[in-house]
Amino acid sequence: MTLSDKLFKEEERAAYKLRELYRKYGYLQYKVSKFEEYDLYARNKSFLVSDKLLTFTDTNGKLMALKPDVTLSIIKNVVANEKSSYKVYYDEKVYRTTTSGDGFREIMQTGLESIGAIDSFSQSEVIMLAMRSLENISEDYILDISNMKLLEGLFESAGIDASLMSEILSLIGSKNISAIKSFCRREGVSVDAEDRICQFASCYMPIENALEEIKPLLVGEKMLSAYSELCELYEILKLYGSTEKLYVDFSIVNDMNYYDGIIFKGFINGIFDSVLSGGRYDRLMEKLGKKMGAIGFAVYLDRLERFGAENDAYEVDALLLYDDSAEAKDIISAVRKLGADGKTVRVLNTLDKSISYKMLAVIRKGGLEILEEND
C-alpha cells in the first residue's frame, strides 16, 4: 500500500527524507532518552539556545531536565578519538521555551554530528549534507557560511581587545555599519582596519565571488589559514555539484566560546527564521574534556509548520448520509465508489454541519444520490 502524500505534515515528510539522506551517507541513528541530568546543561548553559530548562526530580532525588538539545548528550557519550571518527544522526523531540518566553514547547529536531578525526573532506561532507537537507525541504534555499577564525584574525589584526569581541560580533551580526564605525573610532582602530571590518560586515555573495572579494583583505597568518580552509571547502563542494546556493555571510555569528572555525545557517524562502544551524565546535569538545574535532548541524523541523501546501478547503471529500432503510452492503459499495482515488468519505446517519465537505451524498432506495457538490 502506498501512502497518500496528504497524510504527512510538511515537517514529518521532511524528517523521513532527511533520515534517508543521512543513512545513505553511512550516518547511524543515535537514539537518546528524553531526559538527562540537569548538571550537564547547567555547566554548558550558553551553548543552549535558551537557558531555561524543564526540570524535575528523579526517584533517587537527582535533578533531571527534559532535553533542550541533543548534541550535548551525544558528545557526552561519544566513544571516538582523534584517529577514529564517529558519524551519527538523530531525530528527536526537544523541550525549549518559545521566543516570546511563555512556557515550554516540544520541538521536532533532526540533525547530525561528525566527531573525531575531522579533516577538510569530512567537513565538506557535513556541509554538503546540510545543503542537501535544505534542498529536500525546498529548492529555494540558501546556506550561509562563515568562518569564526577569519573574524577572530580580522579583529586581532585590527588590534581589538579580546574582551570586546562579543560587542563587535553583535554589531557585525546586525550589519550595523554606522555603529561599527563609531566602535572603531572609540577604540582607536585604524581607518584601514575599520574599512576592512565594514567590508566583512556587509559581505553577502555566493562563495565563488566572496572568495575573490575578501582575498585582498587578508592580514596575518590566522586570516590566511582560515581563508584557505574556506577555499578548500569550496573546491571539494564543487566536486559534489552546485555551489551557487552557498553564500558567504559573516553576520551569522555564533558563540565564540563553543564554536570556532566554520559555521553555517540555512534558510528557506518563505520561512522567516533559520531552519538549519551548525558549525565546528571543537571548543565545546575541549570544555567537556574531549580533545578532538567535531562538526554538526540541527534542522528545526517545527519551523516548517506553516510552510508548503495550503490546508485543504474541505475537511472531507464526501459526506455520505444514510437512514434506517439503507442496507449495510449498499453503504459499503457507496463508500467504495466515493472513496476511489484516495478520496476521504465520512459516513453519518444524521447531517453534521460542523464538518466542511466537498460533496454531500445520500443512500436512497439502495442507490447513491448526490445532493450537493461544492468546488
Partner: protein, 213 residues
C-alpha cells in the same frame, strides 16, 4: 523579475518624513497621500508596498517577516532588541534617551531609585551598568507626571528639545544614548530579496550623502 518589497512605516511625523525620503529615492506611491481608509499602498511598477503601523510595532513586523524592511527609531530597537539587520542611520528624528528629574532632585545612593519609563529594558541596562538597584515603574504615556506627583524619583524618556521638561520644573540629568531613525531589514528577506533591498538602501544612502554635502 523584480520582487515586491513590503515596507513598514511608523505612523506619525517620522514616518511621513521617511516616506518623503523613499519618494525622493524613486520609490513613490501616490495613493499613500490620498485620504482613504486603505491600510496598504502599493506601486507595483516600482516594486514597493507601504503600510503604516504603530512605531513600536515596526520591529515586530520586520522581525517576523511581514515587512521586509521598515523604519524604526533606535529607541525601539534598543528596547526590544529584535533579531534584524540595522542597515542605515537615516539621521532624522534625532533626539536622545535621557534621565530626567525635578530640578532640585538629589540622588541618594543609599535608596533604591524609582524609575518611571516607557522603556524598561533600556532603563534596566543603563542602571545595571552602574550596579544601581532600581524599581521600574512602566508607564505608557505622560511620563513627566511621575516625578511631579512623587510616583518616581526620576524618569527615563526621550528628550528632543527639553521644552516639556523645563515647563514642568524638570530637567535632564544624564544622557543615555543618542536616538535617530534607522532603516531595518528582516534577515531572511535580506537574503532572498538581496538585490532589491540593497538597491533601496544604496539610494537612500545617496540622498543622505547629498544632504551632507
Amino acid at each position: 523579475m523584480k520582487k515586491m518589497i513590503n515596507i513598514a512605516l511608523p505612523k506619525g511625523r517620522l514616518g511621513e518624513k521617511a516616506y518623503a525620503m523613499f519618494e525622493a529615492a524613486g520609490y513613490e506611491c501616490p495613493s499613500i497621500k490620498e485620504e482613504s481608509r486603505k491600510l496598504i499602498f502599493e506601486n507595483a511598477e516600482k516594486g514597493v508596498r507601504y503600510f503604516w503601523v504603530k512605531p513600536s510595532d515596526v520591529v515586530i513586523y520586520v522581525e517576523r517577516g511581514a515587512a521586509d524592511i521598515g523604519i524604526a527609531g533606535k529607541d525601539i530597537i534598543l528596547e526590544y532588541s529584535p533579531d534584524i539587520y540595522e542597515l542605515l542611520d537615516l539621521e532624522m528624528g534625532k533626539c536622545r534617551m535621557a534621565v530626567a528629574a525635578k530640578k532640585d532632585f538629589v540622588d541618594h545612593r543609599d535608596k533604591t531609585l524609582r524609575v518611571a519609563t516607557k522603556f524598561p529594558n533600556i532603563a534596566k541596562s543603563y542602571y545595571n551598568k552602574q550596579s544601581r538597584e532600581i524599581d521600574i515603574i512602566k508607564l505608557n504615556g505622560s511620563i513627566e507626571l511621575a516625578p511631579i506627583l512623587g510616583l518616581s524619583d526620576v524618569i527615563v524618556d526621550i528628550v528632543e528639545t527639553g521644552k516639556t521638561l523645563y515647563e514642568n520644573d524638570l530637567e535632564p540629568k544624564a544622557d543615555i544614548v543618542d536616538i535617530s531613525a534607522r532603516l531595518v531589514s528582516n534577515k531572511v528577506s535580506h537574503k532572498f530579496k538581496n538585490e532589491e533591498i540593497n538597491e533601496i538602501s544604496a539610494r537612500l544612502e545617496k540622498i543622505l550623502l547629498a544632504k551632507k554635502a
